[in-house]
């Protein structure tokens, strides 16, 4: 339609999105340390405990360590640094 009303777009300005690569994966988790990150949602502690037991029973060569951020919904840089320096992989849950 050539004529008509001209109106503004009501949306804000989105940030530029820069592609980020995934971290390289090991071939196997045998002998590796996997951090189970309890995201502190209601019952996530119980879920992660079941996850820990599953690894102990089914993949005993994998060492699991449970860790929690200092608060819910907070990016805990100290916790991330610990996982990065001491762990080989991480499972996070159960979050939104």
């Amino acid at each position: 339609m050539a004529s008509g009303l001209t109106v503004h777009d009501p949306r804000g300005f989105p940030p530029h999105v820069k592609g980020k690569r995934l971290a390289p994966r090991p071939e196997s988790l045998d002998g590796k340390i996997v951090y189970l990150v309890d995201c502190l949602f209601d019952n996530s502690e119980a879920f992660m405990d079941q996850m820990r037991q599953w690894f102990a029973q089914n993949l005993p060569k994998v060492e699991t360590r449970t860790i929690k951020p200092r608060e819910s919904w907070v990016d805990d840089a100290d916790m991330r640094a610990k996982v990065a320096s001491e762990g080989d992989a991480a499972i996070l849950g159960v979050g939104l």
Partner: protein, 433 residues
């Protein structure tokens, strides 16, 4: 995703109802191939055995064994797409292609840019008129907003706020209040599953300058300024933050009728107590707007009558996580004063002292458990002390600083309401004139 960036192979587990949201979020972070696994909703209230069933069962989205998704997500070679992520730009045009009013109204609805009520189309002329309501330049950046703290933040300028103010039907003289709300950076369209809404309380000379209602029917919908300022706050929140779309950027399971518009002016002239903005550090002659969020519950009462303390105690124990905002007619405020409560702060202190629950009930609240329990475990007070209480021991639920009182209404009834609403902040309106 921050762990992946730090070199740690990761899998994030979500419940299946968040699959679309999780994927949209990964895309907006430039990492669309983020490994994710999905268990059924809910996780809350399930026994260890039921949770184990999730782990030993199938991924609710892919249909493959859940633990296979986890293990394969953490191991094995990466593909080209995994290595480069996805870089893209989403430029937003300033103006839309010309079209008929009917087609544009439809376009705005289809794009989720409205609250599904008719909007005033933001033509160049109308937006230019709105911009005359402030001395600020149209390209001045006002703030950034996101549906929740872990989503991407979108930015906006004065002109973009004006566009949404026009859509809401606001007049240029209201624009400084709307700009102050936008400058809060605090969204009125949170994506929270708990279905929150926001409230704006206006104080100071601006109330009367723009004809706001603090009398009969002030909470709505009986005043043009009250209603359209509140609506503008909601519309600008959803549009300037990048959307409030169910199953994508809005997950409130019930929704909230107060999220259309909720804004009123405090009745400073008839209140026996200090205005809200003065309590928050402003001068009486300043104009300011205070933002509250949550609005998960509403209760009401009349009086205060002889048993007001018993009634108030019952109401105060209704919501363990969101503190009370008491909104009362000037009649009620004056009767409280007659009963010896000389200031708002005295009433607030009484409420803090009497908002109590057995520890067992307090800690069983889902949001107390999710948000406050970790703080208690970390030794943060007052939560740590509350956590030490025995199950039947009575604990205090709120600190005085969390509780607020506003006086509003037209004195046709000695009515009060209690909203579960958390105070966010008070912003200067004068800054945005």
């Amino acid at each position: 995703m921050a762990l992946e960036e730090g070199g740690v192979p990761s899998v994030a587990i979500h419940t299946h109802v968040f699959s679309r949201l999780a994927r949209v979020t990964a895309l907006a972070n430039g990492m669309p191939r983020t490994r994710q696994a999905f268990v059924p909703q809910p996780v809350v209230d399930l026994s260890p055995g039921e949770l184990r069933g999730y782990i030993e069962g199938k991924d609710r989205i892919s249909g493959r064994p859940f633990m296979q998704e986890i293990i394969e997500g953490l191991t094995g070679p990466l593909g080209d797409e995994d290595m480069k992520g996805l870089t893209f730009d989403r430029s937003i045009p300033r103006l839309l292609a010309p079209d008929s009013e009917e087609n544009l109204q439809r376009l705005f609805i289809e794009n989720h840019w409205t609250d599904f009520l008719p909007i005033v189309l933001p033509t160049e002329e109308r937006v230019a008129a709105m911009l005359k309501g402030t001395r600020q330049k149209p390209d001045k950046i006002v703030g950034r907003m996101a549906p929740t703290s872990f989503r991407e933040f979108w930015e906006y300028n004065v002109e973009k706020v004006a566009v949404n103010a026009v859509m809401a039907g606001a007049r240029p003289e209201y624009f400084p209040v709307i700009l102050a709300l936008a400058a809060s950076g605090f969204t009125a369209k949170s994506s929270s599953t708990t279905s929150m809404a926001n409230l704006a309380v206006v104080n100071g000379p601006i109330r009367n300058e723009i004809g706001m209602n603090s009398g009969i029917g002030a909470l709505g919908p009986y005043n043009h300024a009250n209603v359209t300022i509140g609506r503008a706050y909601n519309l600008l929140s959803q549009n300037l933050q990048g959307g409030s779309v169910p199953d994508e950027s809005y997950m409130g399971t019930l929704g909230n009728p107060l999220a259309y518009s909720f804004c009123f002016a405090e009745n400073e002239e008839r209140s026996p107590w200090q205005p809200l903005h003065v309590q928050k550090g402003f001068k009486r002659e300043d104009s300011a707007v205070s933002v509250f969020f949550g609005l998960r519950y509403t209760q009401e009462g009349y009086g205060p009558r002889d048993t007001w303390q018993e009634k108030m105690r019952r109401c105060l124990s209704a919501g363990a996580h969101f503190p009370p905002l008491l909104v009362m007619d000037p009649i009620v405020a004056r009767l409280f004063k007659d009963r010896g409560i000389a200031t708002k702060q005295q009433l607030i202190d009484w409420c803090a002292e009497n908002a109590r629950l057995p520890a067992r009930e307090y800690w069983d609240d889902q949001w107390v458990q999710t948000l406050l329990h970790p703080l208690a475990v970390a030794g943060v007070e007052p939560y740590a002390t509350r956590l030490k209480a025995k199950p039947d021991e009575i604990v205090q639920m709120f600190e005085p600083k969390e509780i607020n009182v506003a006086v509003v209404g037209g004195e046709t009834q000695g009515a009060w309401k209690m909203f579960g609403a958390r105070y966010q902040r008070t912003l200067s309106v004068d800054t945005w004139r």
